[in-house]
Each structure stands twice: as C-alpha cells, then as structure tokens.
Amino acid sequence: MSHEKFLSAQIGRRTLLASMAAAGASAGLSTLGVSRAFAQEPEKPAEIIIRAWGGSWVDALKAGVSDSFTKNTGIAVRHDLTEDNEIQPKVWAAVAQKRVPPIHINWDTTTNATKSALRGVTEDLSDLPNLKNATDLAKPVGLDGYPIVNTYGYVYVLAYRPSAFPNGAPKSWKDLLDPKLKGRIALYNDGIGFHFPAQVAGGGKLEDIPGNMQPAWDFISKIKEQQPLLGEDPDFTTWFQKGEIDAACTISTNAREAKKNGIEIAWVVPEEGAKFDTDGLWIPKGLPENELYWAKQYINHALTKEAQQIWLDGLGLPGVIPGITPPADLVGDPSYPTTEEDFKQLIRISAKVQVENESQWFAKFKEIMQG
C-alpha cells in the first residue's frame, strides 16, 4: 500500500470528521517521519500492547504518544501495567521458547532494558528515521546500536517537606543524618538512585565506581541508623501525604505529581549531585513482521517533537528531541536539566556498569538495610 493510499484509507474511514481532523491526521503522519516506510506498509494489527507504569506515567504516555499514534494509524494502543521487573521474565521466557512475546513494546528503565539487550532479546532500532533528530541522550551508553531508544532523562532528587526544614532547603545528602529526621526519611527499596550520591557524600570518588564503593556503603550505613522507610514510587507519595516521612530520594516526577496533588513538597539537587538516568522503549524479539513494523512506528512516533512535548510535559522530564519547551513550573529547575551547566550537577553512570554490578550492590544495600 502506498503512502497516498494509506492516507486515503484513513480519511475514508473518517468521512464524518471535519476536514480539520483530516488535516490533523495528515500532519500527524508526516511527523511519524516514515513516509518512505509506508511505501511497503504491512498489514496493521488490531492493537499494539505497550507495557507502561501506571498513574500519571501512563496518562502522560497516552496523551502524548498513544492517542496520536492511534489517530494517525487507526491502530489501537493497549497499555499493560504489569510491573517492569515482572514482565521481564515473561518476555525472556517467550523469546527463549520462540513464542510471540506478551507485549509489543516495553517502556522500561534503561538499566533494566540493558539486561534484556545483553541477553539478546531486543530488536535493533537503529533504522528509526527520527533518531537522526535525537540528541546523544537517546543512545544507550555502552551498548552497540540501538537495542533500546532512550526517550527522556530523569533525576533522583532529594524531595522534602518544607515545614520540616524551617532553616531552609537541605543542601546536602548529609542533611538526612539530622537526628530529628530519624524514622522520617525514605529511599527506594533497592537503593536505586542513592548509591552514587552516597559515594560522594561518603567522601569517595565517582571514578572509583564500581571498584571501590566503600564510601557509599559507609554513608548508607549511617543512613540506616536513621531508620529509613524503603519503598517504591507510589509509596513515597503516600508517605508524604500521610505524614510518615519528611524527606526522600525519589524521581522528580513523583515529587512533582505529589505537589500537583496538593502535598506540601519541594525538591533539590544536593551539592554532592544527584543520579541522572534515562528510561527508554524497546521491542522484544519474536513479533510477527507486520507487528514489529508497527511497533517500530510507535517508537518512531514517540521521538517526534509533538509527541515528546505532550508526553514529557506530563512527566516533567527533559526529552531527547531538541526544542521541547519545559513546563512553566520547571524552568530553571535542576531536576529538569537543559544546559551543560545543569548536567554538571548530575551523576550519570553507564547502564552497562550498573547492570553488571546491580546484583552485588543490591545484596550489599539489603545487607545493610535488613541488618
């Protein structure tokens, strides 16, 4: 089917729509950036399934990418809210058994996705046309090609309740050691986001990662004395809301969402820095050819400026396509890095180093926290 035929078919199905809508669809197709690809457009599946995180995360994806993709192609998008670490073994098993995987696209942390890439279960995405418009952030560090396409970055900030810090915002991760915060702080239950700033706060150097992480473990041991709560993204919002904690190391998106919901919360990037990481999209191997094609078109669409603008407005995160306007409330915010100066405050370690050492770091963190 030719590109023109594709357009005709779409408009034909929308004969009841106003001409504005047709024009919009046409404009949307051009943003897909796959006009030549549509020349050999394969059969469309009834739907494609995207694994996503729930709450405001999936709302943002739907508003920014999925709805416009459906509008442009007529393919429905179903969001599978299975946890990222729970879908992983299912996908791995499906690929190993040469079955069709349960999802078309996994919206995943780059660290988690890197494991799948190293295992060889990801499709190569190097041929996506819109990658040429993307910044270096889209490229996974330490991997060949594009087994994953990073779609935005995020920062593990120090979120805090302003009323608990009457003398002003905390400046350092060491401020969490204040005795008045005993039992009032929270970290992720696998320590993610905290290891690297802890290395600096503990007097160590980032260059020593992963060879010598002792300063990080020493600092985390001090934090343990503060009896922190350990949880996942939704827990932080609940704990802030219910008055259980006054400070947490969490992704800025969660803090911003909590603030939107009326919870008294602010955040900083402390002087030791904060971990910067990325999330991405990847496609598992084993999909039928036509479904693989349309899954790639979805990711390609996610790399358009229009889709990124809406999607990342919702998440409050910087994307990988230049020219995106930051949300008004995040202009100049260190959790929304846009300049080289902003990135100097942030700590970025390659996903490959992270996954190779994750098991050991996890065990050490658990040993300290469960002791």
Partner: protein, 314 residues
C-alpha cells in the same frame, strides 16, 4: 404378551443404558485398577510438584552471567555457598523463622478461646456472630487487609488520632517487626480457628460435665480433658499457621516498610529485581527444605494432628 410399561419404568431403562456404557468404558476386569485410578489426581499433582522442584533444583545449580544475563551452562554450588555465608540471608531466614514461631504461638493462644466459645456457647446468636466474624475476613484479601492496617495504624491513622485526643504525640506503629507480626496474627487467626473448631467439637461435652461432677474445677478440666483432647486440632492449626507465616510475602512487604523482609521477599527480589533466577531458585529450595523439616519435627514430636485424618477402619 408384552409387559406393561409401568413394570419396567423409563428411568430403569436409562440406567441400564448407562450401565452398559460404563461396562464398555470400564469393564469389570478393570475393577482392580480402580484404586489406582482414584490415585491419579494425587499422582498428577505430586508429579507436577516434583517436576517443578527438579526444575528449580537444576536452576539453583547455575549462576547468572551478568555479561549476557543468561544462566551458566555448568553446575556449581556457588549459590548455596552464598546463601550459607552472606549475613543478609541469615538475617532474613532468622527473622522469618522466629517470626513464624511467634505468630504461631500467639495465634493459637487467641484462636483457642475463640474456637472453644464458638463450639460450646449455648447461644445460637453468639455462635452465628462468631462464625460471621470468622468468615468475613476471608472475603477481604490479604493485601487489602494489610492496607487497612496502614489506615488504622498510620501516623495520621485512627489509633494515633485517638491518642492525640488525650495529648499523646503520634507514635510510629507501622513499618517495624511487631507491625509485621501483628498483621500476620490477624491474617492467620481465622485459619487457626477453622482448624481448631472440628477438634473441639469432637470432644464430648459430657466429659467436661463428668469432670466437673467429680469435683474438677474449670482449670483442671481444661488442663486434663480439653487440652489433651484438642491436641490434634492444635497441631493441625499450628502447622498451617507456621508454614503460611514462614512463606508469607505481602504482610512483610506492606507493613514492614521495606526493612523487615521475610524469605519470600528475598526470593521475589532475586527473581524480579536482580534477575538472578539461580539465587532465587536456591532460596526457594532452602525455604521448602526448612519448612519441610519444621513440619517433620512437629510430626515427630506431636503427631500429625487433624492433618493425619487417621481413624480405625471397621
């Protein structure tokens, strides 16, 4: 002369047909195989379990290669060595074992009077109330119940609000070991009562009356009559509560605040967070082994209780 239809009703004819069909499907020469056929569901069930354990055993002998995230081709005892030498696993295993024993003791102490009252009360209204109160929690899942405790015991929960009315500042009632044990006891209580009630029902009330008529006080009757005769129920309930507590996941995860993991939480982490199926399988096997040994010890010391379902054949 044809026999009247009423002499050989239609239902009999149907039964004849069914019997002939049954004889074709299962001829009388197969009768000796019937007991084996009845064993089939159990054999299939146990067979699947054994197959699963063999698979888990195989995985437990492989280590994760973090360069490829594939399991090693060769066998090694490295995972077992880690489990036995790393303090984290000892901490979690110790917490689970001690916790499950404490939960079992407290649950039995609470369940016994509940079950006794439910069985012996002359008031049918009270019995119905106790039964409803017993079954109601079964309609509410474990996770929902745990979240309920978050609402009740949280810093801004009902208990702290009540304490606030008398000037007591908020107390951290959640996210610690006692909170996990409390949640487990609340979850296990109905199981224990359900296991105890049949054993208590089986004790003839006349025995207690006879003891009383011979001058025994309630305490003496309880000690020498009720308690010994209810032992099968106590053993059965204790085993169920012990094994369920030992393997519980949700309550430690929700009420423990991330710092009170049980073995099941550690297994989840290995399978789903670090993707180390070998270590997850090792922990799973060791949990099965420890649980089985505990059950074996109880069987040896106290017998199998109501779980044995023994009885003299007549």
């Amino acid at each position: 002369m044809r026999a009247p239809r009423a002499a050989y009703p239609l239902t009999w004819r149907v039964m004849d047909v069914l019997e002939r069909l049954a004889a074709i499907v299962w001829p009388s020469s197969f009768q000796r195989g019937l007991p084996y056929l009845m064993l089939m569901p159990a054999l299939v069930l146990v067979g699947l379990l054994v197959l699963g354990l063999v698979q888990i055993g195989d995985t437990s002998l492989r280590t994760l290669d973090t360069n490829t995230f594939l399991m090693s081709e060769s066998y090694t005892l490295a995972n077992y060595q880690r489990v036995l030498t790393e303090s984290f696993f000892a901490t979690v295993a110790g917490r689970s074992l001690v916790g499950s024993v404490i939960v079992t003791v407290i649950t039995l102490l609470l369940a016994f009077p509940y079950a006794y009252l439910m069985v012996r009360t002359p008031s049918s209204a009270l019995r119905k109330f106790l039964l409803v109160a017993l079954f109601l929690p079964f309609f509410i899942g474990q996770v929902v119940r745990a979240y309920g405790w978050l609402i009740i015991l949280g810093n801004q929960g009902m208990v702290n609000e009540a304490l606030g009315l008398v000037g007591v500042p908020p107390i951290r009632l959640l996210y610690n070991y006692p909170a996990v044990l409390f949640g487990l006891v609340q979850y296990m209580l109905p199981f224990a009562v359900l296991m105890l009630a049949p054993a208590l029902t089986a004790i003839p009330g006349e025995l207690e009356s006879a003891a009383a008529s011979l001058g025994a006080g309630w305490t003496r009757t309880f000690r020498h009559i009720v308690l010994p005769l209810s032992r099968p129920g106590l053993v059965g309930a204790g085993l169920v509560v012990l094994t369920l507590s030992l393997t519980d996941f949700a309550i430690p995860a929700i009420l423990g605040g991330g710092t009170q993991d049980f073995i099941a939480n550690a297994i989840y982490d290995q399978f789903f967070r670090t993707s180390d199926q070998g270590m997850g399988a090792t922990l799973s096997l060791m949990l099965v082994a420890v649980g089985s040994m505990l059950v074996g010890v109880v069987f040896m010391l106290f017998g199998a209780g109501t779980l044995a379902m023994t009885g003299d054949r007549k």
